[in-house]
Every structure is written in C-alpha cells, then in structure tokens.
Subunit: 423 residues, 2 copies
Amino acid sequence: MPSYQDFIALNPNSLPERLGALPALRERVGSDPRTWSVREVGDGNLNLVFIVEGPQGSAIVKQALPYVRLVGDSWPLPLKRSFFEYHALTRQAARDPGMVPQIYHFDAEQAIIIMEFLSPHIILRRALIEGQELPKIAKDLGLFLARTLFRGSDLCLDTKLRKADLALFADNVALCDITESLVFSDPYYDAKLNRHTTPQLDGMVAELRADRDLKVAAQRLKHIFAATPETLLHGDFHTGSVMVTASETRVIDPEFAFYGPIAFDVGMLLANFWMSYFSQSGHEANAKRHSMRAYLLNVIIEIWQTFRDEFATLWHSERNGILYQRQLFEDQGDRLGAEQALDLVLQNIWVDMLGFAGVEMHRRILGLAHNADFETIENPDLRAKCEMKALKLGRHLAVNRSHIHSLQEINKLAQRLETESVF
Amino acid sequence: MPSYQDFIALNPNSLPERLGALPALRERVGSDPRTWSVREVGDGNLNLVFIVEGPQGSAIVKQALPYVRLVGDSWPLPLKRSFFEYHALTRQAARDPGMVPQIYHFDAEQAIIIMEFLSPHIILRRALIEGQELPKIAKDLGLFLARTLFRGSDLCLDTKLRKADLALFADNVALCDITESLVFSDPYYDAKLNRHTTPQLDGMVAELRADRDLKVAAQRLKHIFAATPETLLHGDFHTGSVMVTASETRVIDPEFAFYGPIAFDVGMLLANFWMSYFSQSGHEANAKRHSMRAYLLNVIIEIWQTFRDEFATLWHSERNGILYQRQLFEDQGDRLGAEQALDLVLQNIWVDMLGFAGVEMHRRILGLAHNADFETIENPDLRAKCEMKALKLGRHLAVNRSHIHSLQEINKLAQRLETESVF
C-alpha cells in the first residue's frame, strides 16, 4: 500500500525534470525532456492533469492532490484515489478492450498515472451542449456498460477474485462518501454544500424536501448503493467522463470505482442524457435543437437496448460464475429456466437503474456538483425552466421506478414535460 | 495475517504441555497443568474441541484443522476460519453482551480460541429433539438477531468501519463457498455430495430439481446472499449453534461469519424451528408431542416479533449510520417518513428471510449437511414422512415469499401439512 510520505505535486516546470528519465514518457514524447512542452489542463475539480508534448508524440500525466482542488486543503481527499483509478482502468481495459485510455506508467507513491493523450477527442458533455449528434456513442457505451459490469460480477468472475477485489476497493471510502452524501442525501435537506438556481427553484426545492415518498426512495437507493457490491463500477459515469470523436468513444476518470450495484453506472449515464435533453432549449439561441432532442431520446433507448442485448449475449456465453449456474438450468435441459433467471436479473437492474437516474438528476441541480449542460445557460429564468423539468422527471423515476414499463413511456413523458406547460 | 507455518494440532496429551504456561488457562483451570484433565469432544465435523478441567475450574480449547475433519485431508479448509470466528465473537460480544462465550485467549498462528466452558448448557437442537420447551430462547435469540445485525450495519455503524470490516471478512471465501454451494445450488441438481432418504424421497427430489420457479428463486437468493453485505452475519445460525439451559441462551461457532444480508441469519434460524416442528412426530414413541409442536410454532412467532420490536427500537435510538439519516426525517419534523422507511426495510428483510428459510429446509434434507432432528429418526419411512413436509413448506416459502403475509399463515400451513394427508 503506498505511503505517500514523499508526495510532491508536479507543476509544468518541474515535470520534465522529475519524469524525464521514465522510458514510458521518453519513448512516447521524446528522449530529451528539454524538448517537451507541458500544459496543465485539469478542469479544476480534483486533480492535476498535464498534457506533455514533444517531437515523438504526447501523453497525459494525471496526478491526484491530497485535497479537493476546487475547494482547497480544507477538504482533504486521499491520494489513494489514484491507486483505485489505476486498478479500475486496468480491469476496464481487460473487460472491454480499447474503451479506456492506454496506461503507460503508474507511480503509486506520487499518485501519478501516465496515459494516452486522446486527441482530437472532446468531452461528450461539451459535444452535446454544442448540439453534436455523435453516431457511435450509444452502441459503444451500451457495450461498455454490459461488458464491464457483467464481467466484474459473480455472474462471470471467479468469486474468490471478486471478493479479493471487493476488499481492495472497499478502502475507497472517501470517494464513496462523496457519492453517498452528495447524490442520495444532501439534495433532500438543507445541506451546507447545496446550491440551486434561486429564487426560481425555491418553491420546487421546498416541495421535494417535503416529499416523503421521494426521500424514502432516495434512501432506499442509497441502501442499495452501499450494500450491493455486485460488480466493479466506474462510479462516476456521466457524460463528462466520456471523450469522443465522430468515430471513437473512450471512458475516462474511474477514480470513484467501487463494488456496487450493476444498475448504478447505467442509471447515472442515462440521467445525464435526459438532463442534456432538457438543457437543449437553453442552448437554442443560434439554431433550434429539434433534431438534437430526438437524437438524445434515441441515444437513451439505444444504450439500454445495447446493454440488454450484450448482457444477454454474455449471459449465454460467459455465465461461468457462482450465480445462476448452468448445472441447474442448461445442463438439465432447462434452457427456459436460464431465460427466466435472466429476465429476473434484468428486471431488477431496470427498476434500480431508473431510481439511480432519478436521484442523479436531482443532485446535479440541487447539490454541490452541477453540470455544464445547465450551468452554461446564463439566463437564470431560462436555466430554471430547464432544470425544473429534469427535477420533475427525476422525482417521477425515483418514486415510481417499480411501475414503469419502458423507456418509450419515459421519453414520451419527457417530451410532454418539454412541450406542455400543464405539468 | 497469520502464516500458520508452525501449526501443530493439539491432542489431549500434548495440550497441558503446550498451553500450560498460558495465564488465561492457569488462572481459570489451575496453576499446575499436571492437574488438568483434558477430553476431546468435537462433534466431528470441522474442528478439535477440548474441555480442560482442573482444581480452579474449566475452559474450552477450540482448534481449527486444515481440513474438514469429517471428510479428511482430501477436503482442505483454511485455518483462518479460526481468525474469523474470533473476530466475529468479539463483535457479537460488544453488540449483545453476554450472549456469546467469554474469550480467554486467541492464538492466531495455532488457530486456537480458548473460551468459557458452558455448563450445564446443552445444544439447543438436542433439547428440542428431547422435547424440552425452553422458555427463554425466543426472546434471547430475537434480541441477539436484532442487536448484532442492526449494530453491524450502515444503519448504525460508521460506514468507514463497516467497509474496513467487510474487507477483513471478505477473505472468508472457503466458508462462504460452503454456504453458496451447499445451501443454494447442490440440493437442486445431482451434486456429488448430496444424499437423501432413499428411495422414499426420490420422487420428491426429482420434482424439486425440475421445478424451474424454485431453482430461479434459490439462485436469486444466492445472488442476494453473495452480493448484499449489509451486516456481519453469524453465517451458520441454526439450533446446533445455540447452547441453552432453562435460564440461559448462548450463541456459539460463528466461523462462517461474513458480511451478508440481514435476512440470512433470521431465515436460517426460523427454518430450523420449522424442521424441528416436522421432526417431532419422529420422536413421539414415548410420549406425544402436541404441546411441543405448539411451543415450536410460538417460538417462531416470538423470535420474529422480538426481532422486529428490537429492530424498531434500535431504529429509533441508534440510527446513526449513513442510511435513512435523521436529517431527512426526524430533523425535518417528518417522523412518519422514518416509520415509512422502517416498514420498507423490515418488509425487505421479511421477504428475503422467508426465502432463506425455504432453501435451508431443502439443503438439510437433500444436501450434504443433514441435521440431527431428522437424522435421529431411525425408521426411514417415518423419517421421510417428516422430511417430505419440510421440503414442501420450504418450496412454498422460497417461491411465494413476496406474497406471504404473516407467520400465523405459514404456521397454519405447517399444521395442515402435519395433520392432513391431502397436500
């Protein structure tokens, strides 16, 4: 276990000197560190991120800081998140090859991961705000979800390995705490770090905090999140954790990785597409976004359909773990038994996925960590109007998740929230 | 972590010499080990158990063996189960004081726990086979379940501690594997270690193995067992893990301890009382057991009622964990919100508890590890008649667990299975 006692934060000037001897960087960037150019491009929330470029090529150097960068050293955050990110990246790379950045080097003591610089990729969230309709993301993300989540679970993995890995990631307490508090609890009471578009949303905030069914549902979801380590999650799987070009999709930043419920990554991702949907009318100044809205609702349906299809494929081809064993079904000639079990497993994922999507929409509007989809809408009245619709859909999903039949039905409701003022 | 490289099994002759210098034993048994008398009384399944007696008093010396004693060294079993048993005992002692044997000494490397010799206590299962109606067990066991299970969960414990402890116990893989295989899978296919009363039960066995709904239910329960580490379980909580006098109840042998679903220990225990109920007619040669049967059904109801009541009491007084936080309910003046959440939590425990009870009844009759309640019925026709009723109730509970309203209803069904031949 790294001690971090010699940890020193990098800066653009010190980086070539400190890392100039590493073959991993010399081979990819250039053998003379004096020829390297270094820029810090961290988005400012948690970590340092450097792009290192030179005559041979480029690389990303990501270093954790012992506190939340955005807030400062009053909010300490363990350097060990870098360890969890590294180990999550290696597992994701094995489970869905080519979907995460290639790792060149890991320095545990300095909390540094050196990896592939993705270019000309941009953050998916930014692309969606700009109105780009990317053709490949739904397929790529649906497959990534099914492959990483299925292959990390007792449906597939040797349970001895899963239990050991679960123990390894159980120490990612600080980042779990962020999710546990910021996603499931803070939005539903007057927590210190909350903020929202005020005064426009004040009435709605009061209503949600007085909503008993919603609060019980959110806490039940927290219970499921904290006590259902089915598989290794990405843990922070929103559109800001995806980088894209028209032809490539990559998933980054799994430092929240943790053993949790399969439904969590799926629900969190879909929620971010619904929020993108409701934010489009805040970005229509230059051009109408009718086609973009239709695209986003289709992406949601296609991600889930791809996830379901691939999950079923893996169920039939790689179900080698301790759960729903073939000995009990196929090996007894009972293929329908295996299908019945698959339907049960997918039904449970479906129900919980909708719940996680619901609370994710709330916390991005009412909690600490907002998202750019809404934040970049400068007019607060317009922003609040968009946010309000997402809050309403979120409440609907979190509370009614056991009774909802299909995404088509949810998307139809989203369209009515978008176009009718009666809700 | 112990290495076990110097492990040597004790025997009655070597014990005084090897352990004679330990203050823990000298103080309690006598300062001169030559005056000690040592008998080995292990029930023959897994471990060595010695009673050590001397002029001052007595003690139990329990030592693990690196294999399953019953089967021999062809079935290795890690010595580390002693480490898990010791740590489980210390946690149980803190969570429900006085209910587990007092620990005098733990030797990790030799896999030895030295503890209180409970006398004149006998194994509860034996007392029930003899037809003893013990007045205190229902209350004591209901309280023990509620206190250990609630206080070990995120409802109460600091989640950082629970996550660290979960990681510690995650290595108890071999004993979890026994539960995962023997309880949830083996009874439902032609597994090598299975045995049952044959040919009397052959038809029923074939019927259960062809029962798709049952197999899917059993596997769903396995899924819940393996992926819901809500709290530290005893893990093997049957009537053979309880020692009693008329006035005292003690819980022993938590070497299967593991973080799992709250419902597991509860369901497993109740199943053993239903099995005792159905076994009574096999022990009626000398005297009718009408009163004993009524007593057992009442014990089941009283354990559950005590568990529910104490769980609710702790919910109101010790709900200091990350789940269903007061900030969202009581602190906002919403006491009914906390009650709604309590009902939801208890409802989930109820449903899963019934399922675990169902499969436990199957595996004790169809799997490897049978229980003395039925095994001591020598006439195979009579034994099979008793077992058949338990198998039927088990199937009913495992498959219909979401639709069953009360224990009264289940007990009524048990009575009909006992007295009517039409089922």
